[in-house]
Amino acid sequence: MDKTFDDASAAVADLPDGASIAVGGFGTAGVPWALVRAVREGGATGLTMVTNNCGVNGAGLALLLQSGRIDRVIASYIGSNKEFARQYLAGEIEVELTPQGTLAERLRAGGAGIAAFYTATGVGTMVADGGVPLRFGPGGETLEVSPAKEVRRFERHGRQQEFVLEEAITTDYSFVRASIADRHGNAVFHASARNFNPDVAMAGRITVVEAEQVVDVGVLDPDSVHLPGIFVQRVVEAREVVQ
C-alpha cells in the first residue's frame, strides 16, 4: 500500500468543477499551500470551500478567490481578508458563516457518521434564529439569509438548556498539511499547525495530505499518530512552504 503521488498537481488532477473541498489551517499555520496552489494551476472552478478563514491576504485560498474559482464558502471568520470580504459583500460568492467550534464539530461529525448534533452555541442568535446574510446582491442588498434551525431543550448536568441542531459536513475532497506523513497516510502535526487538519481529513471522501516530509511505513510511533491513514487517500511531499 503506497498512497504517495509525485506532486500536488498529480494528487488533485481529477478535481472536477463544482467540487467541495475542506481545507485545514488557521492563520498561516497548517495551511496546505501546495495543494491550494495546484488547484489554482489546474482548471477547476465553481468550488465550495470549507475552511476556517479562507486564507490570508494575498496567499492560499485568497488567491483562489482572486481568480474567481470559488462560488461558496463555509467559514467562521473573515477578519482582515479583504478579498474574501469584498467578494462576499459584492455578491460574487455565497458565504455560510458558522461559529468556529460548530464548524470543527460539523466536520468531525461528517467524518464520524453523525448526521447532526445539538449544541448550545448560537442559541438566541441569528445562527439559530436565521437571518445571517448568505448572499448579497450587486447593490449590497441581502438576497438570501440563513434559515432558522431547530432549537430543543435537553438536560445537561441536571439543568434544562436550549440547544440548536447543526448538520454534519462531508466534502468531495479534503486538503491537509502535516509535518510528517508515511506512505499509508498516517500523519503527525506540529504545535498549532494541527488545528482543523484532523477534522477536515475525516470529512473528505478523498483526503489528500501534503507533508513537509514523507517517511516509510513503520517510522511513526503508533501511539503518536495524530491522523490515522484510514482517513487519508493520497499523500504528497511538499517540503518548501511557498505561500
Partner: protein, 231 residues
Amino acid sequence: MNRGWSREEVAVRAARELRDGYYVNLGIGQPTRVADHVPAGIDVVVHSENGVLGIGPTPSRQLEDPDLINAGTELVTALPGASFVSSSDSFAMIRGGHIDLSILGAMQVSSSGDLANWAVPGVAVKGIGGAMDLAVGARRVIVVMDHLARDGSVKLVESCTLPLTGRGVVDQVITNLGVFDIAQEGFVLTELAPGITVEDVQVSTGAAVTVRFPETPVRGCRVAVSESCER
C-alpha cells in the same frame, strides 16, 4: 472616554479575577493582554481556540516557531505542561464547560447578560470565530471594554440592538469606569475606577445601575499596572 482606568489598568483589574488553577481563554485584542498581569502566586493555564493549551509569553526572535500561534495569529510560546490538540478537541474544551473563565471584548452587553460582539448591520462583518462558543461554553464570562463606544453611544444597555453573540451569558463587565456584576436586578456596580462617581457611571450607561460596593474592601485597593493587589 479616557476617564478612569486605562485599557492596561482594565486588563490588570480583570487579571485579579483569575483564580489559582483556572483554565482561561482570552479573546483577541485587549483580553489577550490580561495574561501579562496574572497576580503573583496564581497559576493559570491559558487556552487558545486554535488548539493550544498552555500558552506562554511572546517568544524572543530566536524562539519564534511559525507553527506556534494563538487565535489572534500572534507568535506565542508553550509553557511546560502545554498540549496541542485539533480544533474539534479544542472546542470540546470550550463547549463542554471545561474552560473556567473566558475574557472577551464586546460592542454591547445587556442588563440580562446578553452579549453582542460579532456584527454591526451595514458594516462589513468580521465573522463569528470562536466568540459564540466561548460565550456559551465557558463557566464564567467577563467582558472587558470601553464604557462608551467611539461615537459616544452607550454599550451597557437594557437590551442589545446589535445581533447577539450569546443570550444571558455575561457574568461581569469591566470598563474604564468600573466593575459590574450581571445579577437578577441587572447591572450591579461593585467597584469604581479612581476619580469616577456613581453619577458618571449612570449617565454613561443605557440601563439601570444598582450600586452595591462590597462591605469589606476586598477589592478596595487601588489598581496599578505595575503592582499586584493583595487579597
